[in-house]
């Protein structure tokens, strides 16, 4: 057996009110692809931040090549041969690719040499990229390539990848895996963080599974089934959602020729989007992040208005109406960003209940607010959706992600929508809460609502939606029934690996 490259020994790190890592130990050998598996909040990010010098452990030790390893800063970690690709990219949109790469290097070469080296590395590893392009104009997959190349230029001994596939199409995932296998064959160790079980089984040699900050198992993922891994990760048997088998009824929501300008300088907007959702139906919209998901939610919720005929509810043109008019007609929505978009962080849950509930729940009259009624509404949400909080007077930001998401979804569902649009309903939510939210959405459909689920989690979409379409640079593919769709077909709908050609042309 080879000597370990990095060993983590009994590391503990506590934050106020939560122990992020408790007595965690594991080892990575050179060339090994090691998975760090766990739910959101299991402590994966904290552990990785310690290895990368962003956080210091309270106790325990790390060893690199047998010697003590305690990087005080990311620079020190990089000098020791650790490189990291972040989940939320550490990129600068207004700067170009070469500048972004230079910022992640200790001693970057002169600009001209750097551009040449970027081209070399990108060709060697099959990651085409033009050094002169502005990062803000790149797709999510291309941005990830910038991060990877930034790492590879430093010849890392250990490459950390934090949830790398959440922004990729299945085809792009394949390409990424080829790159990672090549790196591994050259002796680079890879710490691969994910909660996607099939990927880990396909790629990794070893897995350390975290739950609530503790190591619950270390295993060879290829020898375990996805179900076994899932149960280790979650610690309980997961209920399969109950579809109910409702037969779709009349068309409730009809979208045609919906075109919207980009909301910001690097946005995509929507181009000629068309679909319809029937009573009792769940319509899934997939796609890589940044392809118009936020614009679609905003256009449907009324935050962005469009031509009247572009959106119809039960045949009535509503495209020109604002959010509150649509709410009164029965179109409700739950945006992706919980803190700051779906809810106001510093406001209490009572005030947040009022945020969308005033009209349909009768929480005000002629502009004057009925606080007792708002409080009762907040109480109903908290009770009905198992929101864990000491009380409705507490600020939204004091809730955990999962609890706040249950509050947000519950707030909309309790208003009995005819059409509900949700974006990333279970993003960053623990498995139990995610299951509860999905079930609540399905129940709403069974009661006759039309539901649009926008999500980047393909498993989720396949699990709950009846029909599927993908957003790609603001265009929506023709919808197809979910039943019988293969991952490959879905990947092609999401745009395949098409931007590879674009990048080649750009060179």
């Amino acid at each position: 057996m080879t000597a370990p490259l990095l060993s983590i020994e009994n590391v503990t790190k506590a934050y106020p009110g939560v122990v992020a890592n408790s007595d965690v130990s594991f080892e990575i050998t050179p060339g090994e692809v090691h998975a760090l598996l766990g739910e959101n909040g299991a402590g994966k990010s904290t552990l990785v931040k310690m290895i990368y010098g962003l956080v210091r452990p309270d106790s325990g030790a790390m060893r690199l090549n047998g010697g003590p390893f305690a990087p005080p800063t990311p620079n020190a970690a990089r000098q020791a041969g650790i490189a990291m690709v972040f989940q939320h990219f550490s990129l600068f949109e207004a700067l170009d690719v070469a500048e972004n790469v230079a910022l992640g290097m200790e001693n970057p070469p002169r600009p001209r040499d750097l551009a040449r080296r970027i081209r070399e590395v990108s060709e060697t590893y099959g990651l085409p990229l033009d050094p002169a392009r502005r990062v803000g104009d790149l797709s999510a997959g291309e941005r990830q390539r910038v991060e990877i190349i930034r790492c590879l230029l430093q010849d890392p001994k250990l490459l950390i990848m934090d949830e790398p596939t959440s922004v990729l199409t299945p085809q792009e995932v394949d390409i990424l895996f080829q790159t990672l296998r090549k790196l591994s064959a050259e002796g680079t160790a890879i710490l691969y963080i994910s909660h996607k079980l099939e990927e880990i089984r396909a790629l990794c040699d070893a897995a350390t599974i975290l739950r609530r900050g503790e190591v619950v198992a270390t295993c060879d993922p290829r020898e375990k089934s996805a179900r076994e891994l899932a149960e280790l990760m979650v610690g309980a048997t997961l209920a399969v959602p109950n579809r109910g088998g409702a037969v779709p009824g009349d068309v409730r929501l009809e979208v045609s020729g919906l075109t919207v300008a980009p909301a910001n300088r690097f946005g995509t907007g929507l181009r000629d989007v068309a679909f319809e959702v029937r009573r009792g139906e769940v319509f899934g919209v997939g796609g890589v992040a940044g392809n118009g998901q936020e614009d679609l939610l905003a256009a449907l919720s009324g935050e962005i208005t469009a031509a009247p005929e572009a959106i119809r509810l039960d045949g009535v043109a509503v495209g020109h109406l604002g959010p509150n008019k649509r709410r009164s007609l029965g179109i409700l929505a739950a945006p992706e960003e919980r803190l700051g978009h779906a809810a106001a962080p510093d406001m209490s849950l009572i005030e947040n209940a009022l945020l969308t509930g005033e009209i349909r729940e009768g929480l005000g009259r002629r502009g004057f607010l009925n606080w007792p009624a708002a409080r009762r509404f907040a109480d109903r949400i908290i009770e009905g959706f198992d929101v864990r909080t000491p009380g409705p007077a507490h600020a939204a930001r004091s809730l955990s992600g999962g609890n706040l998401q249950k509050f947000v979804i519950g707030r909309e569902i309790l208003q009995r929508p005819d059409v509900l649009i949700v974006n990333q309903p279970t993003w960053g939510v623990d498995a139990a809460a995610a299951a509860a939210i999905r079930q609540a959405l399905l129940n709403l459909a069974i009661e006759g609502a039309a539901i649009v689920v926008i999500s980047q989690d393909l498993d989720e979409i396949l699990e709950i939606s009846d029909r599927f379409a993908a957003l790609n640079e603001g265009r929506l593919t023709p919808p197809r029934p979910t039943q019988g769709l293969t991952m490959e077909e879905i990947g092609l709908m999401m745009g395949g690996a098409h931007d590879m050609e674009v990048a080649h042309v750009a060179e």
């Binding site: 962003l54 990311p74 990219f89 550490s90 600068f92 949109e93 207004a94 500048e99 910022l103 970057p108």
Partner: protein, 310 residues
């Protein structure tokens, strides 16, 4: 009215003098904003610089020391802003306003003893040969050192931002402080340095007013120059050479309206005096109306507080 009394050569030379205080303050603020910090206290730092420079110059009878004192005074005041916004995470808009109000007060306090005092004269550089060239000589080569220094600072800032690693890191911090932090850059330290630089430049600009342009000390003598400097940064879309252009354009308007006043134009003096402010507003409107262009160069993290806890 006698427009022929306006000498275009003297006008251009005077334009440069009128523009230099604002140019200095604006180029400093540009660096601050490029680092992602919005310091609305330029007016306060300028006037503090004006009195610090004036006081030091009078006490030492040395204008050069005066300018150094002004830069230190402006920087010291800006560090109050830096401490509050970067370490105590206070609201940048409110803190900038506080800085202006405080600066006006403290400068008036220091300035009590200096009302009516004459400062030592800052000599103009007389570059042999060059300054004797007709037309170009008086326009370009008969100024004091501060004019050339201000041009040097603009060139330096341009070079720094465009070609150096320090400039790249500064822009990165202003673009996305969380990413810069994740890569291991000291966001707060970099911003503090930028803030201090901005304060020093504003201080120099203020001292240029009290030591060269006017030259004497009166309370509130900056009369909105700091705010105009802020507007010029927007006008310039955060580009150094366009700050120069903006400041000189503004200087031109100021000098022209003063000349028109002197020439006895049949517009009341008050309306001529308000024209620089109105034109600044007009320019702001034109720049901001084109949303795509205005947004393109604005640092993305401008004005947002940074806390490394997350």
């Amino acid at each position: 009215m006698d427009l022929s009394s306006i000498d275009p050569i003297l006008l251009i030379a005077a334009l440069i003098v009128a523009a230099t205080p604002i140019l200095l303050a604006a180029i400093g603020e540009l660096v601050v904003e490029k680092a992602g910090v919005l310091n609305l206290g330029v007016e306060g730092m300028m006037i503090t610089g004006a009195i610090c420079g004036f006081a030091v110059a009078v006490e030492t009878q040395n204008p050069a020391l005066g300018f150094i004192g002004a830069a230190l005074g402006g920087a010291a005041l800006s560090l109050i802003f830096g401490f509050l916004t970067q370490y105590l995470l206070s609201n940048q808009v409110a803190t900038g306003l506080a800085l202006t109000l405080f600066g006006l007060g403290i400068s008036a306090l220091i300035g009590q003893a200096y009302i009516g005092v004459k400062p030592p004269i800052t000599a103009d550089l007389d570059i042999p040969l060059l300054s004797d060239v007709p037309v170009i000589g008086p326009i370009l080569f008969q100024h004091n050192l501060m004019v050339y220094l201000s041009l040097g600072i603009v060139a330096g800032v341009w070079y720094l931002l465009k070609y150096t690693r320090v400039g790249l890191v500064l822009r990165a911090v202003g673009e996305n402080h969380d990413a810069a932090h994740a890569l291991g850059y000291k966001v707060v330290r970099i911003r503090m340095l930028a803030i201090a630089f901005g304060g020093a430049c504003a201080g120099l600009g203020g001292a240029y007013l009290s030591l060269i342009r006017v030259p004497q000390w009166t309370e509130g003598m900056t009369a909105g120059a700091g705010w105009i400097a802020l507007a010029i940064v927007v006008f310039a879309s955060w580009k150094p050479w366009r700050v120069l252009l903006g400041a000189y354009l503004f200087g031109g308007i100021t000098v022209l309206q003063l000349n028109l006043q002197a020439a006895g134009l049949k517009i009341p003096v008050e309306y001529l005096s308000m024209s620089p402010y109105l034109i600044t507003i007009l320019v702001l409107v034109i720049m901001s109306a084109d949303r795509s262009r205005a947004a393109l160069n604005a640092p993305a993290a401008l004005g947002r507080p940074f806390h490394a806890s997350s």
